[in-house]
């Protein structure tokens, strides 16, 4: 009993420390990259306005898998008993969604597109239904990257985004 308790506590503390460290690091990186990629609008609308001159279009996707840590899973397990917002998973899904959209936009940027239309997202869990396994969440975002005829604002073309990898 006691050895199981010790293992449990070690897992919980490890999960919390590494989990929250990873999460804050990820959020910092997300905010930075979102600012840079903000110049590529991602629009949920399906219909492209008639006055838009589109020269090319292509599908772009962004995919990410993020693992749940033991701490988050434990809290969510307790939440199961009483119901309510599973706040420990909220940030996880938030991160996964934003990361997937960013990767999709980054693909569009590297291909030289100006915007992404008709974006969709799909979430699925890995390890679903496998008892006590630590689960992971997968988010796939996809959309139609568009190349527009009229010149957009400055610095929007193929060469513009090379500095993205290491934002200042």
């Amino acid at each position: 009993m006691s050895i199981e308790l010790i293992i449990f506590l070690v897992l919980l503390v490890t999960g919390y420390l590494f989990g929250s460290w990873n999460e804050s690091r990820h959020y910092r990186s997300l905010q930075l990259r979102e600012r840079v990629l903000n110049r590529i609008p991602a629009i949920a609308s399906k219909r492209v306005p008639d006055d838009m001159q589109i020269t090319r279009s292509r599908m772009v996707t962004g995919n990410v898998v993020i693992s749940v840590d033991y701490f988050k899973q434990f809290i969510a397990g307790l939440r199961n008993l009483v119901g309510g917002r599973v706040s420990s998973y909220e940030s996880l899904i938030d991160r996964a969604r934003r990361e997937a959209v960013l990767r999709m936009k980054d693909e569009a940027r590297r291909a030289g597109a100006q915007m992404v239309f008709n974006i969709k997202m799909e979430t699925s869990s890995i390890y679903k239904g496998r008892g006590n396994q630590i689960g992971s969440v997968e988010v796939l975002a996809w959309g139609t990257a568009l190349w527009l005829d009229q010149p957009q604002t400055e610095g929007n073309d193929q060469n513009g985004g090379n500095s993205l990898r290491q934002p200042a």
């Binding site: 919390y16 991602a42 701490f71 307790l78």
Partner: protein
Amino acid sequence: MDYSNPDLPEGINVSKRHPLAELAILLGGSLALLLIVILLLSLMSRTLASWIPFPVEQRLAEQVSLPVALADDADARPYQQLADRLARHMDLPADMSITVHLSPSEVPNAFATLGGQIILHQGLIDRVGSENGLALVMAHEIAHIRERHPISSMSQTLVIGLGLMTVTGMASDRMLQQLIGMVGGLTLLGYSREQERAADKLALAAVAAEYGHIAGAGSFFQKMLDEHGEQWLEFTSTHPLTQGRIEALEQQAREQGWPLEGELTALP
């Protein structure tokens, strides 16, 4: 048409509460709830267990092996007769019967378990000095059986064990077997102070009724308390002995006017 994505404010899709605060609230709440549920269950099981018919308890006891080696039943016969004599004064239900087993163990101890069985250690018989002293211990164990203490205690232990196993997710066939083994081994059976006092009271009344006095009986506990040492450890751990218990016995004797002195009967 000009499209652009606004700068969204940070943290609009997540709860603000700190994860550790969340943990404290959830863990504290569920532990408190758990405690209350288990407490209720154990109280219920203790109360309800006395409604289990005695023959059912006997059948249950047959499936459980006793934790001690037993001497031949023929050797236990004189003590069985003593138990039967005492039981006549104790107003047992019609379907209840007492079986005395003798154990060759040198550790002075005696205990009542499931199915109306009393296990008497040779070490206790060697030390009591007179039949009167032994009768008090015997009547005390019979009183436990009459009051259904063994089955209540077992039910309570089982229910608490099962409850803990269920919530910790450790419930499995193997764990259940272990739990039943532990309860069946009766090493866990303990009685509350109230149960001990109730048994004392019934026991002293039975001894007084059998012998007409309580000589040798009351002094037995006192002797044990004086000698309180390693050799009595097992007996005192299953029968927590306090000065208060002895005083309660003496007071009962005074109130009932039972003679404190009388002729001692030799051991059978």
